[in-house]
């Protein structure tokens, strides 16, 4: 009740300010207001979402959608753009958290199953979608293409449509404080799929360049891939090792140090053309698997640091959902979303059977693979820039699809985690730590 009153109060303050005072001409003058509003109101709405058995993340997204430029306009378009100031930090933090949760010794027995599920689901979905897109190309709202150009464009578009979101899946896991077979499996599968996606996308992009003589493929695909993947992992590992030394030797202000690590990764990785998620993941993996810290300092730091960053990240994502893209390309997007959902479901079932995992949680793995978010949008932006004749239309489609999947994905995955009984398992497994946190 008190929280509902506080939420209404914060909404009233924001509405009053927006109504009574004109927005400053400099968009950066509204960043702090938008961030504070998003942090408070999205968190409170997330709590309300949890009460009706929706994931908290959906509450944050809904907050962004409702208060964003298309509905209440309490967060205007420039404010929504400014809110994305946390995107790099959030992506890095989410991937570091994923690395910290990935204990390779614990995962080793499942390695074959993870490889099978990721490979079959990703490649199967990609194959089906690419064929359907190639066949339906003349009827899709894209400029006409023929021959090898159409094949390459269909594969690139198929890779984008098929992609999974490690960001959202890991964020759901972190936020639900889940642990168990399904959590471990989905986390490993989405991360491996992300690696696969980068390889497939780079190859498809190169194929599109060769076939259509569009874009400038000056650097060999092999060298580019090696730089992007090996370089990302090496950079992340070095930074992670330095962080591990800090936690072990100094061990003070770990929350600030963790946020500093993520800010460093988010700032440096794109400038060196590294894949941010891979670098951050490698940093987390090194800390967890090579130099795990003693005590709870890092776990508490993650808990303190991750919550506000996740709230703002998903509230900003909700506010930036382009509903007009969905209106323009709605029927095509819905049809493709349904086809993708079916593919992930069927391929997921098939892969689990091939991997020989008969237990029930594993059969729900597909539910953790439906989300799409920032990585896909980033790749779509690259396509739009490289292939001006058809890339912009593909980007609009991907924006609409991402909007659908970012809303549906967390709900599906949280349902799966709840059915598997893994939500809140971290707190149950570590009651002493939880008690300590509550003191």
């Amino acid at each position: 009740m008190l929280r509902a009153a506080a939420l209404l109060l914060v909404l009233a303050i924001m509405a009053g300010l927006r109504q009574l005072a004109p927005a400053p001409s400099d968009p950066s003058a509204s960043v702090a207001l938008a961030l504070g509003f998003a942090l408070l109101a999205a968190y409170l709405l997330g709590g309300a979402a949890e009460r009706v058995r929706l994931p908290r993340l959906s509450g944050y997204l809904l907050f962004g959608l409702i208060c964003g430029p298309y509905l209440l306009n309490l967060i205007t378009s420039p404010m929504a753009r400014e809110l994305q100031v946390v995107n790099g930090l959030a992506l890095a933090l989410i991937a570091v958290v994923a690395g910290l949760e990935l204990n390779l010794r614990r995962l080793r027995p499942q390695a074959r199953a993870v490889l099978t599920i990721a490979g079959v689901t990703m490649l199967g979905t990609l194959a089906v979608l690419s064929i359907v897109i190639w066949t339906a190309w003349p009827w899709l709202p894209f400029p006409p293409l023929a021959g090898a150009g159409r094949v390459a464009a269909a594969i690139v578009t198929g890779a984008l449509v098929a992609s999974f979101s490690p960001t959202v899946s890991i964020a759901v896991i972190a936020e639900a404080r889940s642990r168990g077979p399904l959590t471990d499996l989905v986390m490993a599968v989405v991360i491996l799929s992300d690696l696969l996606l980068i390889v497939i996308f780079a190859l498809a992009l190169q194929l599109a360049r060769w076939s259509g003589a569009e874009g400038a493929g000056e650097v060999g695909v092999g060298i580019q891939l090696a730089w992007e993947m090996v370089g990302s992992l090496a950079f992340g590992a070095i930074v992670g090792a330095l962080f591990a030394v800090y936690v072990r030797v100094i061990g003070r202000e770990v929350t600030l140090a963790l946020l500093g690590l993520c800010a460093l990764l988010a700032f440096v990785a794109p400038r060196l053309h590294f894949e941010l998620i891979l670098s951050a993941l490698a940093a987390g993996l090194v800390v967890e698997n090579i130099a795990p810290p003693d005590g709870d300092a890092l776990k508490l730091a993650v808990e303190r640091g991750a919550l506000p960053v996740l709230i703002v990240f998903f509230a900003a994502a909700g506010a930036s959902l382009q509903l007009d893209a969905l209106a323009i390309i709605g029927s095509t997007a819905v049809a493709l979303a349904l086809l993708r959902l079916g593919c992930i479901r069927w391929m997921g079932d098939l892969s689990v059977r091939i991997a020989g995992l008969a237990h029930t949680p594993a059969r729900m793995t597909w539910m953790g693979l439906v989300s799409q978010a920032g990585v896909t949008l980033g790749l779509a932006t690259i396509v739009a820039a490289e292939f001006p004749t058809w890339g912009a239309e593909v980007r609009t489609l991907i924006v609409a699809l991402t909007g659908l999947h970012v809303l549906v994905g967390p709900i599906l995955f949280t349902t799966a985690l709840r059915r598997a009984g893994e939500i809140g398992a971290i707190d149950r497994l570590e009651p002493a730590q939880t008690r300590e946190r509550q003191v």
Binding site: A5, L9, V10, S28, V31, A32, G36, L39, V85
Partner: protein
Amino acid sequence: MGAERPTAVLVRRHPVFGVDATPLPSILWILLGIALGPMGLGLLSPAALRHLDLVVTLCLALLGVLVGLGLARHPPRDPLRTAIAATVEAALSIAAVAGVLAWLLATWDLPLPMPRPSFVVLVAICAAASAAMTDRDGDDALRGAAQLANVGDLPLVLAGTIALAMLGREAILSRLLMTAAAAIGVGFAGSLLFERASPAERGVFLGGAILLLGGIGRYLATSGLLAGFVAAMFWVRMPGVADRIASDDLRRFQHPLVMLLLVIGGATLVPTVPVIWVAAALVLLRLTAKLLAGAAVARLIRAPVARVASLLVPPGTLGIAIALNARQILDGAGTVLVGVIVLTVVASELAALALAHEREPAS
């Protein structure tokens, strides 16, 4: 008693109410900012400084809250007498500096990026901030001077906010009232949330509240200092422990944020001819004004005249905060103001060091 070792003067600096002494003197953070900024290594480029605008907004609200909480939670022994003395001291300092500086600027005819009266008033307000040392074992004069400097932050927050609001868009009074009303709203929302929250949730609520308070000031082109101060006073007046929670939790962020504020201040320094001339004059004017104003009010707080006056010489973080606040509203024009204040703070720190050095043999 009574003798502050020169190094201790720098180390035990206490910028505003409720803020613990920083582990390193403020001058070092300013010099670090100058070294990292466009004048030095260029790591803090103008683009990077634009991104750090959010940190300034956050710091302003945080300082406002800390001033409010400090005023209410650690009142001076004789509140009315100290409040009168602090207000008189601040007013005398501002009037003396503004009057002479206005005459000097009219004589020199230096090119300024903003109207001369506004510039003079803002410079005088920023320069009036003091940061007397705190020393819980110190003598009465030291404690009296510290309380005077601390309570003196309140008239500076108010005067600074009004001056900044006058620089901004039209409808000055309504913007100031909206700032106060919205801050009360945020304070009320905070008091509903803080007490029943887990530690992780408290971080979200407190962080959100501070961002909102800073954001209100920035959005309305007034000041996060005022918004933070009003919300803090609300938390203190409301039943419950919202003020204690805010005070305890904000302590974790105060040092990093205040250090960042000083680093940003240092990095913003662009030493043009007008900046150097005005800063040189201001150092002398400020020193004289502080000594005179301190001497004038020393009797009110029943402390030795000479000691109180000299103890008020060290400059406060609040001056840099108000200057950076003005830069947010004025954009490029405010850079001159920040430069003047940064140079003045550095020189005044050194002057305070020299004064403390002078006092040491006497003890």
